[in-house]
Symmetry: C2
Subunit: 509 residues, 2 copies
């Protein structure tokens, strides 16, 4: 087994080094992409022009229209397309609304080739010129090398870059290096209702012959250096309820004679983290994976602008000064944040109330290999211990309304090796290997349900302004991204073939 | 001086004991009141029928009509009545609304007699049958010895009891024992806008010849035992703002690398009171008046149902077990209550936000002889010390949006002695000498501006249901209250005369 792995690694390395400069085939592809920039921009412009805002129910029709346009485009490439219905949702006014369909598409079924499934979404966040856009958000506008428009980066641009890459092979009448599958949704911006169920339902059919899953719905860490994302933190949210009676009391009439529930709650919340941000719950760090030398090196090579990140946050000083510590505490160590209190006075001004039932809310970001049940037990035990020491007559109730496990991929597997090779070819450098400190459920959801290799494969623009005004994709990233995906197809096909050969070697030996 | 005071005390004691059973004059008055119960109820019914709800601007006309009805009643008694205009207020829709006028009335100007000014209000809290009233709130309805209706206790009943008492003297063609002044407003339930300014404006004219001010707008502590209120706590409210940047951050992206402002705030709030409710701010108790043996005895004799009070609060266990400690901590010791946090997440559900600017809100109830400026300085100093030890890069700002000094009357002065005497005559027992833990500005406002003796003189019904459904005054308290006020007029006249004689003795000696 060890021998086989070494052989595979060797083959992978060989495959990778061979693509460190573009081949003739690659150059042919790049040339085609460069020559057809105007067409690719025209399509992006057409797609951005559709106000496929999934947040506002009145625009659902536009999301559906967007899905139909994309379906037609995939069909034109020769793909088999299914528009999967997700049912209806209930509006606040009681009316039910037909949800926009989700695209499931397939192109190619050659058992000799790997099958790569691409996930993307074509719905967008709301945008209005009056929000502070310098140009009309639904009219793609080029300025200073950037293409401005809602959805340019999130996520119409990357979806089109992938489709354009596929189209390039077709236009050049090249053999498709891989079989393609597409899962493209129209409800990402509202939390992807129905997606998890659909993946589960389709796991035995649609996903059974998928080898790799690629998501391109995030960003590089810097504007200059390509990145691959291999992990996201999980989270566990806690409600800490302290109740003292049935109704709020007047602090004049009862202040000084009762155990105020909020005093208990504040003491509990104050026991969670110390001044340095360290979580005080006993045992909480026990299962955090140990930092290996290999992982440590990843942080050293990441291009990360600490001052720039401070500027984005608006915060003057971080808890750590050096880049590595900051990255590790964002990505690979747990953190605890207190979000607020429900049931207390929260408005401007003053109300001299003794709130009688208060719910403190905090969450812990989870990292490998923390276990949700263990953390839940540790936190509950700790809070109950502290509370019991107060001898308060109030009632404590700790609950977990929401939790999600972290996601971590093996960055030495074929998928990541292929992407690194493609990046080296197109950008002439190695990517930043990054994680995301927040809890993005999509990668984890695909990995947990399908058990396939999953990679988040962004194509650029750390300053894309997703969800914000003046969202954009740079012209360069749109086309370099298209080249990157095309190169990746070749790379993964080659590595996959080598892998299969190695596997055959093992069988025949 | 000491001699004179002793003489006065002796005279006051003599005056008091002489009224421990009703005189012939008093019996004549009581008989009249008993015989005219139906008329007095009829008037209360008419007054309750006016929906003089000052909370809803659309009913302002009804408040004005109520003021005019009361003005006419006082004029019928021979009083000179001024309807003082309070100007206009701005409605949320931008329209301006003419505020209901305030009654300033005078009856009698005999320089030999003391002048007693009565304060009351004729506006009421909103009430609708659908709120859970068993009877129509604006139709005074008698049941089981109680008169149910909005304003029956708060405050139309007590205002009428006073006016009925005056009317009784007039009807019986008795010499008025005192000169009367009335200040009756229609905006008490909305915070008495304009009242403080009016008292200041009228201080040199209307109030210059007033000797005593009586307010009858609160309740006894029990349903059985009469009470006199001689103090209220003050309060000082604090805003503790901790700011870390310009905008809220995502706890996934920034959790673990920044000093979260709410963590600082929670630590500050947690440093304010200990488990037993004791305020931890150094020096805060230094100026709290020392408990004298005389004051201690007052608490022992107060009739206070600890279990009943627990039931009202809905709280299972108080910080103290015995009556005296509970009362002292409600009335004569400071307390600190945390009200809530502005700027943090406060809704149901979960939002994994790092709030970047949070404002903790708490208040301290002040008691004699705490000084607002000193307390403000102590609290600010303490919070700044604790904050500086955290070495947080966040910004702390502590401010005081609101403060009010406590009110305490001298219970040995003529006003209280007269009221105690009247209570002994009418109810055959000594009153509970009580305070209020909350900050009722009215008594303090009168005392501070006019420098006159002020007394809060309730006529009953601990279970009156003020501001609640099924508000009522018991039939018995309405008429006993009328008798009490009439007796009080005689009592204060007598004591005032004795005081003046003592004063003359001093001058002639």
């Amino acid at each position: 087994m060890i021998l086989i792995v070494s052989v595979v690694m060797l083959l992978l390395e060989a495959g990778r080094s061979s693509s460190s400069s573009a081949s003739g085939l690659e150059n042919q592809i790049f040339q085609y992409i460069d020559l057809h920039q105007n067409e690719f921009i025209k399509i992006l412009k057409e797609w951005v022009a559709v106000e496929s805002d999934s947040v506002q129910p009145r625009l659902t029709q536009e999301v559906t229209r967007m899905m139909e346009i994309a379906a037609a485009r995939l069909q034109a490439l020769g793909a088999t397309v299914e528009l999967a219905q997700l049912g209806t949702s209930q509006l606040p006014d009681g009316q039910s609304l037909l949800l926009p369909p989700l695209i499931l598409a397939e192109l190619g079924k050659d058992p000799q080739k790997p099958t790569v499934c691409f996930y993307g979404h074509l719905d967008v966040q709301p945008a209005k010129k009056e929000d502070g856009w310098e140009t009309d958000p639904y009219t793609l506008t080029e300025s200073d090398g950037n293409l401005y428009g809602r959805g340019a980066s999130d996520n119409k641009g990357p979806v089109l870059a992938w489709i354009n890459a596929v189209e390039t092979f077709k236009a050049l009448k090249l053999d498709m290096p891989v079989n393609f599958k597409f899962i493209i949704e129209g409800l990402e911006e509202v939390g992807s209702p129905g997606l998890e169920k659909l993946i589960k339902d389709k796991n035995q059919l649609f996903f059974s012959d998928v080898d790799y899953i690629v998501i391109s719905d995030n960003l590089w860490l810097s504007n200059r250096k390509p990145a691959l994302t291999y992990g996201t933190r999980g989270s566990i949210c806690f409600f800490v309820e302290v109740q003292g009676g049935e109704r709020d009391l007047h602090s004049g009439t009862f202040g000084g004679i009762i155990h105020e529930p909020i005093t208990d709650l504040i003491a509990l919340l104050d026991s969670l983290v110390d001044i340095s941000g360290r979580i005080l719950i006993p045992g909480i760090y026990d299962d955090v994976s140990i930092l290996t030398e290999e992982e440590k090196k990843l942080y050293e090579s990441v291009e990360f602008d600490v001052e720039g990140h401070k500027n984005i946050s608006g915060v003057k000083k971080f808890l750590y000064d050096n880049k590595e510590e900051i990255l590790m505490n964002m990505w690979r160590y747990p953190s605890l944040s207190i979000h607020g209190i429900e049931g207390a006075f929260h408005e401007p001004g003053i109300k001299t109330v003794i709130p009688i039932r208060v719910i403190g809310k905090f969450s812990i970001r989870l990292v490998p290999h923390m276990n949700i049940s263990i953390v839940e037990h540790q936190v509950k035990q700790y809070l109950e211990d502290i509370f019991s020491k107060r001898s308060s007559p109030n009632k404590l109730m700790v609950s977990v309304p929401l939790s999600a496990v972290p996601w971590l991929a093996d960055i030495n597997n074929t998928l990541y090796t292929a992407a690194k090779g493609a990046i080296k070819t197109v950008f002439g450098q190695d990517p930043d290997m990054i994680r995301d400190g927040s809890t993005i459920p999509i990668a984890r959801m695909f990995q947990n349900i399908t058990k396939k290799s999953v990679m988040m494969f962004p194509i650029g623009d750390a300053d894309a302004g997703e969800h914000s005004q003046n969202e954009k994709i740079s012209r360069s990233n749109y086309f370099q991204g298209t080249k990157l995906f095309a190169t990746f197809f070749l790379e993964i096909a080659k590595l996959h073939e080598q892998l299969q050969e190695a596997s055959t070697m093992k069988t025949t030996n």
